[in-house]
Each structure stands twice: as structure tokens, then as C-alpha cells.
């Protein structure tokens, strides 16, 4: 997994609430057997006309936001299906960090397993960052995971909380499976005990 340490970049405002994973990446693009290449269909329905041409009004089609690395989003971002294609599509587009009042649980898990940082902040704070994001390319946000802080374009510092284990994995780009396999003997012991107590399981 790619590490996440810090990021300085353009933030795109995406105030819609309850952005679901079908909106992030519609199901018909899930026929791929790869993790890459989904960025071109990120937000497909919002981003393209039926003939495949770009909708000029869509935020990520605007010249100022084509290189956005951060999304400032509405409440309950990533709700809906468990498809990991949603973070894969965001990352493939170039977005490594999403800031919102809250995230759906499964999306949250999926994002961190792909080196993507999700930051949950109170609505008022997200509103401030949304204003920054509206300013486009001249207003970069910087996110520092080690220090757990965001620096606004005017220099104001916003602290954020993150699960310590998630932070550790993101900073070091750790692979969960390798970590868990270090506990192989504990899993084995658990299985042995279970075989005796609940042989049907």
C-alpha cells in the first residue's frame, strides 16, 4: 500500500450530502478485474453527457480543479455499496484525501486500505474549508498526517483526530495482511479451541 504522510494540493468543493458509491463509480464499470484505470469514470454521470463529452459545469471538469488532490465533501460520504472500486476510482483520478463531516463505515475501511486519508471534521469546520476550496487553484490546503493538522491558505491550523492504528498503517504504508500473519499462531490456537467447543462452526 502507498504511504500517506502529507499532501499539499488543490481542494475541490463537493458539498452534496450522502454521496453514494454508485455515484462515485457506477456499477457498469465494475466489470474490470484491475484496480487501476477507473479514474476516467469517476463520478461518471455527473461528469459526462450521454454522448461522452464533458459537462463543463461539473467541478472536476473545470480547469482550476482538474488536478485536485483533495475533496471537501458533504455528510455521509461514500454510503451504499462495499465496492472498493470507489476509492480506487478516486485515487486513480488523483484524489488521496477526502474531508467531510462523516463517512460511511465500509467506505472508510476501504479508503484506508488503499493509502487514502479520510478526515472527519465538524460541519462548521468543513464549511470553512469548503469556502477555501471554492477559491480554486489559488487556495491550496496542506494536510499533515503525522501532526494531524490541516493548514488553510490563510495559515489557520485545523487539528483533526484519527484512529491511531489507521494512522500508523497509513504513515508507514503497511499491509494489513502481513501484520495479521504475524499473529498466525494466535489464529491457529483460536481455531483449535473452536474446533473442540463448536465443531459445527
Amino acid at each position: 500500500m502507498d504511504k500517506f504522510t502529507s499532501l499539499q494540493g488543490i481542494a475541490a468543493p463537493f458539498p452534496m450530502v450522502n454521496v453514494d458509491t454508485d455515484r462515485i463509480i457506477p456499477a457498469r464499470f465494475l466489470k474490470t478485474i484491475k484496480k487501476t484505470g477507473l479514474g476516467k469514470n469517476l463520478f461518471n454521470e455527473l461528469r459526462y453527457n450521454e454522448d461522452g463529452s464533458e459537462k463543463p459545469d461539473f467541478i472536476l471538469n473545470k480547469p482550476a480543479y482538474r488536478e485536485a488532490g483533495i475533496l471537501v465533501a458533504g455528510d455521509n460520504f461514500g454510503c451504499g455499496s462495499s465496492r472498493e472500486h470507489a476509492p480506487w476510482a478516486l485515487i486513480d483520478f488523483g484524489i488521496r484525501c477526502v474531508i467531510a463531516p462523516s463517512f460511511a463505515d465500509i467506505f472508510n475501511n476501504n479508503a484506508s486500505k488503499n493509502g487514502m486519508l479520510l478526515i472527519a471534521l465538524p460541519q462548521e469546520t468543513v464549511d470553512k474549508l469548503m469556502e477555501d476550496a471554492e477559491k480554486g487553484g489559488n487556495a491550496r490546503l496542506s494536510v499533515d498526517l503525522e501532526k494531524q493538522r490541516i493548514v488553510r491558505p490563510d495559515g489557520e491550523v485545523i487539528d483533526f483526530d484519527i484512529d491511531p492504528f489507521k494512522k500508523h498503517c497509513l504513515l508507514n504504508g503497511l499491509d494489513d495482511i502481513a501484520l495479521t500473519l504475524q499473529k498466525d499462531d494466535k489464529i491457529g490456537a483460536f481455531e483449535d479451541a473452536r474446533k473442540t467447543a463448536q465443531p459445527w462452526a
Binding site: M16, D22, G80, E84, D105, F165, T180
Partner: protein, 468 residues
């Protein structure tokens, strides 16, 4: 006396392999069901790292999301779909995993076949790379929808890294009125708590109305737990559960059954157990429900009308209501029964089991699908289809002009070519009405199977009780 525990606490605690200092747990996963859409990259990951599957017999593979629901003797036309389905089989063979073929009578939607085969059992933990894995909670089985990285994690380690969830209880007092079913209850609960109402929680459904539900009904209820934002849903196992499970191909037999049942009886929450969040709903006040908008929480009784956003104070909410009304091609104040439909879809892991087909057939019997409406029935599995045919339900549907199909996810997710065209409107028994869910520009109204059948014969959203 020991601290009273909830059903969730009991299952959770009996599966914790390890706890880190920060409280993160390694949770043992007893079973995993795997389908073609969310697994290819997981197997690829195993191969790249040179890893094996820890417990092959604890996995069950089946294609469902992307399979054709038309004649199965023909080759699959869409090349990408075919590659994905073939790859599932190749992965099953390469890693030595139990696999159900597309043409096997046991093939069907992951959340229909798990219970049907007795793979789903009370007190177990289960995972599947699909959010509606919450369905299996109907058995008192702690079941999580997971992403592809986690599918790979379960394959390699038979465990998941998780933090404990909060306990939430939704108690449904009293009895549901005649003609009001589990789907109405599920939708009414989401309407009450909102799509983020259960975030971070496992919801235990309790109360008389829940106890009275059949296993099919409990599965419908737990299925839509994810639409309420919760991690999983649970119903305490009881006689109804045991009767359903007993004799299933993969269920314990003989002495093992006795031992298992005795254990399952210890699972229900202890009296006095406490919950982080409690919601109580009265069953008697629930009417048949339909969604009008683009989120499952945009739901109303069929007697209602499209809401008027002008009364909404919160700016974000107001914009989302306006956008939903526009996308759905409706107008504020319009009666729900005035909404005409183009397509009807009876199927999905929410409502494609035998009981669902029976209630839809009861409405369809002796009537015909309205002119200009295409209505399809997609059974949840080959076994459901077979049973329905034994009962003559296929004939009832076909005589009424419904299209009787092969099992799969079909128009729930619209990957296999069964889909809405832009601007088309469906009455659907599935679980999601997001923009574009059933095809780009498609408009979805969610409801119960009997309500969908009523929409098919009337050509517009209707109260099925008027047809009884």
C-alpha cells in the same frame, strides 16, 4: 452476577482472536461468500504476494452480480462479463475452493444461497464483498459487508481487523397490519432513522413484530440495515430460525445439531443488557411504503404525496430534495399513486425468495400487466425458481404477462444488461434507489413484491391492498 450482554456482544466476544493496545480487534471470520465483482483483485493480490487461502472449506464461491438472466445454454455475450465469471471459476480451481457453477440449480444471489445451503448459521461471523451481507443477520449471524482488500484479508487469514461496534436496538412493538410486510417495515425504519442513523452500530431488531416475521421477512429486514448506515443487523435466533436451518445441506446434523442448537439458545440478549442507542416503532401505524426520491430515506406511505422542498429550512437538505424531485421527474405535492411506471423488477437479495414470489403472484393471479409496462420476475436462486415452478407461480406470472427469468442480481445493480433506459421509471423490490443505480438516468421506486406487482398491473404506483 455477570454483566448482561447483548446478542452482538456475545457473538463478537466469542470471535476475538487478539486485542491491540488501542482497542483494535482481530476478529475471527467463520465463513466467507465470494462473487465475481469484488474478488478478482483479491485473488490477484494473493498471487502477487505468494499467499494461500487459510481455510478453503470456509469459503463459498458463486457468480451472481453479472450473470445473464436469460437462456443459460447460450454463451455470455458481453466479453467483460464472461471474463469476470470465468475468472471466478479459475480462481476457485486454482485455490481449491468450493464453487457453484452458473448452471447449477444451487446458483443464485450470495445472500439467498448462503441461508438456503445452511452455510449461514446462528452465532457465526460471516463476511462477503457485498454490503448487503447484513442479510445473514436474520439468523443471529454477525455478517459484514467488506471491500476487496478485506476479502483478500479473510482469504489469507480467516480474520478481519475491526473496532467493536456500538449496540443499537430497534424495537418494533405490536403486529404489522394485514398487507404490510417486512419490506415496509425496513423502509419505515430507514425513513425514521435516516441513511446515517446506524453509523458505527450493529442494529438488533426486536419486538413482537420482528419475532412474528418468517425467516424470509427477517432477511428482508436485515438486508436493508446497510441502508440505515449500520455495519450489520441481527435478529435473535429462535424456533423459527432453527426450523428453517434444520436439514439444510451444510447445517450440522445429528449430535452436532443438538449441541449447536443448545448453544444457539444461549445467544439472545440477556435481560437488562444495555444499548448505546434505542429506537422504538409501533408496527400498527405502518402502511405499505414506497420511495419517491434518490435515497432510501426518501420514503413515504403509499397514501402520501411528493414533499415540497420550500418548507425545508436546512440549505443542504433543501437542495438534495430539489435535486431528487428533478431527477425523478416529479413535482412537489404530486400524489404517489399518480406516478406511472415503465418497468417492474421483482427480485434482488432483498425480495426474491419464495415467500416474496408468492405474495407477488397473489396480486398477479388472474390479472395482466398494464399496457406499455415491462415486468420481470428474477428468482433469487435456482432452487427458489424450481420451487416456484413446482407451485405453479411461474405460470401465474407468465399468464399475467410477466417475464420469468433465470436467477441473479439482474436489474438491482444493472450490470448484466437488465436495466432502465435514461428517463425510464421502475417499481422495484430491490434496496437502492440512487441516481443511475438501475441504469444511467433511470428512476427507481422501492417497494414490497406485492406493491411492485400492483404497480405492474395498474401501470402506476398503487396500494396492493385494494387488489386483495
Amino acid at each position: 452476577m455477570a454483566q448482561p450482554k447483548t446478542l452482538f456482544d456475545k457473538i463478537w466476544e466469542s470471535h476475538v482472536v487478539d486485542v491491540q493496545e488501542d482497542g483494535t480487534c482481530l476478529l475471527y471470520i467463520d465463513r466467507q461468500i465470494i462473487h465475481e465483482i469484488t474478488s478478482a483483485q483479491a485473488f490477484e493480490g494473493l498471487r502477487e504476494a505468494g499467499r494461500t487461502v487459510r481455510r478453503p472449506e470456509a469459503q463459498l464461491l458463486v457468480p451472481d452480480h453479472n450473470v445473464p438472466t436469460t437462456d443459460r445454454s447460450l454463451p455470455i455475450e458481453n466479453e467483460e462479463s464472461r471474463i469476470q465469471i470465468d475468472l471466478l471459476k479459475e480462481n476457485a480451481e486454482a485455490f481449491g475452493l468450493p464453487y457453484i457453477e452458473l448452471n447449477d440449480i444451487r446458483q443464485g444471489i450470495v445472500h439467498v444461497i448462503g441461508p438456503e445451503q445452511g452455510f449461514t448459521l446462528p452465532g457465526l461471523t460471516m463476511a462477503c464483498g457485498d454490503s448487503h451481507t447484513s442479510t445473514h443477520g436474520a439468523f443471529g449471524c454477525l455478517a459484514f459487508g467488506i471491500g476487496t482488500s478485506e476479502v483478500e484479508h479473510v482469504l489469507a487469514t480467516q480474520s478481519l481487523i475491526q473496532r467493536p461496534a456500538k449496540n443499537m436496538r430497534v424495537t418494533v412493538d405490536g403486529a404489522l397490519p394485514p398487507g404490510v410486510v417486512a419490506k415496509d417495515l425496513a423502509l419505515a425504519i430507514i425513513g425514521a432513522i435516516g441513511t446515517a442513523g446506524g453509523t458505527g452500530c450493529v442494529i438488533e431488531y426486536a419486538g413482537k413484530a420482528v419475532e412474528d416475521l418468517s425467516m424470509e421477512g427477517r432477511m428482508t429486514l436485515c438486508n436493508m440495515t446497510i441502508e440505515g448506515g449500520a455495519r450489520a443487523g441481527l435478529v435473535a435466533p429462535d424456533r423459527t430460525t432453527f426450523d428453517y436451518v434444520k436439514g439444510r445441506p451444510m447445517a450440522p446434523k445429528g449430535a452436532a445439531w443438538e449441541q449447536a442448537e443448545a448453544y444457539w439458545r444461549t445467544l439472545p440478549s440477556d435481560p437488562g443488557a444495555t444499548y448505546d442507542k434505542e429506537v422504538t416503532i409501533s408496527a400498527a401505524s405502518i402502511e405499505p411504503q414506497v420511495t419517491w426520491g434518490t435515497s432510501p430515506e426518501m420514503v413515504l406511505p403509499i397514501s402520501g404525496s411528493v414533499p415540497d422542498p420550500s418548507g425545508e429550512q436546512d440549505g443542504n437538505r433543501k437542495r438534495s430534495l430539489e435535486r431528487a424531485i428533478e431527477y425523478m421527474g416529479l413535482s412537489a405535492g404530486q400524489a404517489l399513486t399518480d406516478i406511472r411506471v415503465d418497468k417492474v423488477f421483482i427480485g434482488s437479495c432483498t425480495n426474491s425468495r419464495i415467500e416474496d414470489l408468492r405474495t407477488a403472484a397473489a396480486v398477479a393471479r388472474g390479472r395482466s400487466v398494464a399496457d406499455g409496462v415491462h415486468a420481470m420476475v428474477v428468482p433469487g436462486s435456482g432452487l427458489v425458481k424450481h420451487q416456484a415452478e413446482e407451485e405453479g407461480l411461474d405460470a401465474v406470472f407468465k399468464e399475467a404477462g410477466f417475464d420469468w427469468r433465470e436467477p441473479g442480481c439482474s436489474m438491482c445493480i444493472a450490470m448484466n444488461g437488465d436495466m432502465l433506459q435514461p428517463g425510464e421509471r421502475s417499481a422495484s423490490t430491490s434496496n437502492r434507489n440512487f441516481e443511475g443505480r438501475q441504469g444511467p438516468g433511470g428512476r427507481t421506486h422501492l417497494m414490497s413484491p406485492a406493491m411492485a406487482a400492483a404497480a405492474a398491473v395498474n401501470g402506476h404506483l398503487s396500494d396492493h391492498r385494494e387488489l386483495l
